[in-house]
């Protein structure tokens, strides 16, 4: 087992009167892609938002590189090296692509070499550099959202359903980009409903249900066991191919 980068122990999160996370225990090893699966309403998005400090954990601890970040404010968590790509992409539509990227470089000016790498990874960033982000298509916005998250070196990127509502060609492109990102030092925690995509990029997998982690293991093991998929998520890999 690789050294853990992020560890959630008994994390509970309440949103108003609702008890969403009910004792989440999750380990994200350093390097590669960890996938968080589960049906709608299982608590995947809440888990990411709680890690990011956007919703406060009411109980439990979140350790990042051994340091307790449970009560840290969101900007401090970001500055510790965690980036977040939310489900709604969080693009600033009134700003240009260039302005979105400039703002994402919170620690200083844009690094030209890294920017060039990102433009190669996501060609629309180059094409629409001076365009308003609000005029981009859904897939291009998703690329901008991921590009923004990696404009500075990050230790961990939390990505929430990057393929939701996208055309198959864009999903393939996004999948390729994540595979290339895997080759860097960055660790990815990916929430995904598209099992084909998740199994193609994931190294480890955790499955959530009703605010708990109900399964954790290697992705290859889950991908190769249709009965386990059926039991954990009520789906079969074949149905998604």
């Amino acid at each position: 087992m690789k050294e853990p980068l992020l560890t959630l122990s008994g994390v509970h999160t309440h949103i108003g009167p609702y008890h969403i996370l009910q004792g989440v225990d999750l380990v994200v090893p350093k390097g590669g892609v960890s996938v968080l699966l589960g049906r709608n309403g299982a608590g995947k998005t809440t888990t990411l938002r709680t890690i990011m400090g956007l919703w406060q954990a009411s109980e439990g601890t979140i350790l990042f590189e051994g340091q307790d970040i449970t009560k840290l404010p969101t900007p401090e968590i970001s500055r510790a090296g965690i980036a977040f790509v939310p489900e709604d992409m969080g693009i600033f539509t009134d700003l240009t692509v260039a302005e979105n990227m400039t703002l994402a470089a919170a620690r200083g000016p844009l690094d030209p070499d890294r920017l060039e790498w990102i433009k190669t990874l996501f060609p629309p960033i180059r094409t629409f550099w001076e365009s308003s982000a609000g005029t981009l298509s859904g897939g291009q916005k998703q690329m901008l959202s991921v590009a923004r998250a990696i404009i500075e070196p990050r230790k961990l990127i939390l990505i929430d359903e990057p393929t939701k509502g996208l055309a198959p060609a864009i999903i393939k492109a996004m999948s390729d980009a994540l595979l290339e990102l895997k080759e860097t030092d960055t660790t990815i925690l990916l929430v995904e409903q598209n099992f084909s995509m998740a199994s193609a990029v994931g190294d480890t997998v955790s499955v959530m249900d009703d605010g708990h982690i109900v399964h954790a293991g290697e992705m290859a093991e889950l991908a190769g066991d249709a009965r386990m998929q059926e039991r954990l998520m009520g789906l079969s890999l074949e149905a998604h191919q």
């Binding site: 969101t74 600033f92 700003l95 994402a104 990874l121 060609p123 629409f128 897939g139 864009i170």
Partner: protein, 342 residues
């Protein structure tokens, strides 16, 4: 990743859409032309137009801070008028203190006195904004009803403190020597002070536009207006940005207070709350959070108030409200809304 599967898809907005976007800008000259036709007398029209622009730009100065605070922080600050009143009183005190400069025939000394009065007022109201945000606003972020109640409470406290320090009476403010009187162009008499107000208002608008469009702090403000949570997730402390914007908004209200006091030549503790009716109308017409919309809305309100006061004084009282109703029927979110009503 290959580019072959992702075809660039961006098109110029349709002509009709571009015209619709630019239409609000055309409203100001259209109103000026309509005013010219209705008034008939070019000299009277020129005098009223400059007066309207001056009034509008002073309202813009007071309203610009409020609209950005609303857009960025989602705070309905009914206490904004307190900064206008306090700014006017602090400015008045400085002008009294510099009585020798204001009575001098030197234009330089006169302008220096006004500049110092503005500077001290802005510093004082900026600091007051700091205390107001920390003590009154911060505990009620996200709670609109409480915001209305506590900021109105803050306004009342500020008005009573003005009574304590400067007394309850209306105070006459004399303009510095060189800002009195008018310049005559043809048959039109244009007050010198109004020209100064127009100059300061336009300079402030251009400066705000530059900061918002061309600096990183401006980018942060624009991004924060749209999605404050994401700005935090990128690593910026948005609460600190809130505080800075609130202080700047308060300082601008203080600047507006000094200018409005010199314009009216009288100041009272309630002057801020009285002008707030027009300030809110301008913010609503412009669209919540929009500096450009606020600028156009202020010019429309200033011009319309002056034209109707000349043509039909009884209508003047309701003309700005009628304007707001018409604009909202055309564009329910205001001219250029940054924050969409929920």
């Amino acid at each position: 990743m290959s580019d072959t599967t992702i075809k660039p898809r961006i098109e110029k907005a349709p002509v009709l859409e571009r015209i619709t976007t630019a239409l609000p800008i055309a409203l100001v000259p259209v109103l000026a032309v309509l005013g010219f036709v209705a008034i008939g007398d070019p000299a009277a029209w020129l005098t009223l137009t400059v007066a309207g622009l001056a009034m509008g730009l002073m309202i813009f100065i007071m309203a610009s801070g409020l609209t950005v605070v609303f857009g960025l922080m989602d705070v309905i600050n009914f206490g904004h008028g307190a900064f206008i009143s306090v700014g006017a009183f602090v400015g008045f005190s400085i002008l009294i203190w510099l009585g020798g400069w204001t009575a001098s025939s030197s234009v330089f000394l006169n302008l220096a006195a006004v500049f110092l009065a503005i500077l001290v007022s802005m510093v004082a109201t900026g600091l007051m904004g700091y205390a107001f945000e920390r003590v009154i606003v911060m505990p009620v972020y996200g709670q609109h009803l409480k915001q209305i109640l506590v900021t109105m409470g803050g306004l009342i406290v500020a008005q009573q403190l003005i009574h304590v320090f400067w007394g309850p009476d209306e105070i006459h403010v004399a303009r510095p020597e060189s800002l009195r009187g008018s310049i005559v162009i043809g048959e039109a008499a244009i007050e010198k002070y109004r020209l100064v107000a127009v100059g300061i208002g336009v300079a402030l608008f251009l400066a705000m536009r530059h900061v918002l469009k061309s600096t990183k702090i401006g980018l942060l403000v624009r991004a924060g207006v749209e999605n404050g949570e994401m700005v935090e997730a990128l690593g910026y402390r948005i609460r600190r940005l809130f505080l800075i914007v609130f202080m700047v908004g308060s300082a601008l209200a203080g600047l507006g207070g000094v200018m409005w006091g010199l314009y009216q030549e009288t100041i009272t503790a309630h002057m801020g709350s009285e002008i707030m009716v027009l300030v809110f109308i301008v913010v609503i017409i412009g669209g919540l959070g929009s500096v450009e919309g606020c600028f156009i809305g202020a010019l429309l309100v200033g011009l319309l108030s002056n034209y109707t006061a000349f043509l039909a004084p009884k209508v003047a009282l309701v003309s700005t409200i009628a304007l707001m109703v018409i604009i909202l029927m055309w564009r329910p979110q205001g001219l250029y809304p940054v924050v969409k009503a929920k």
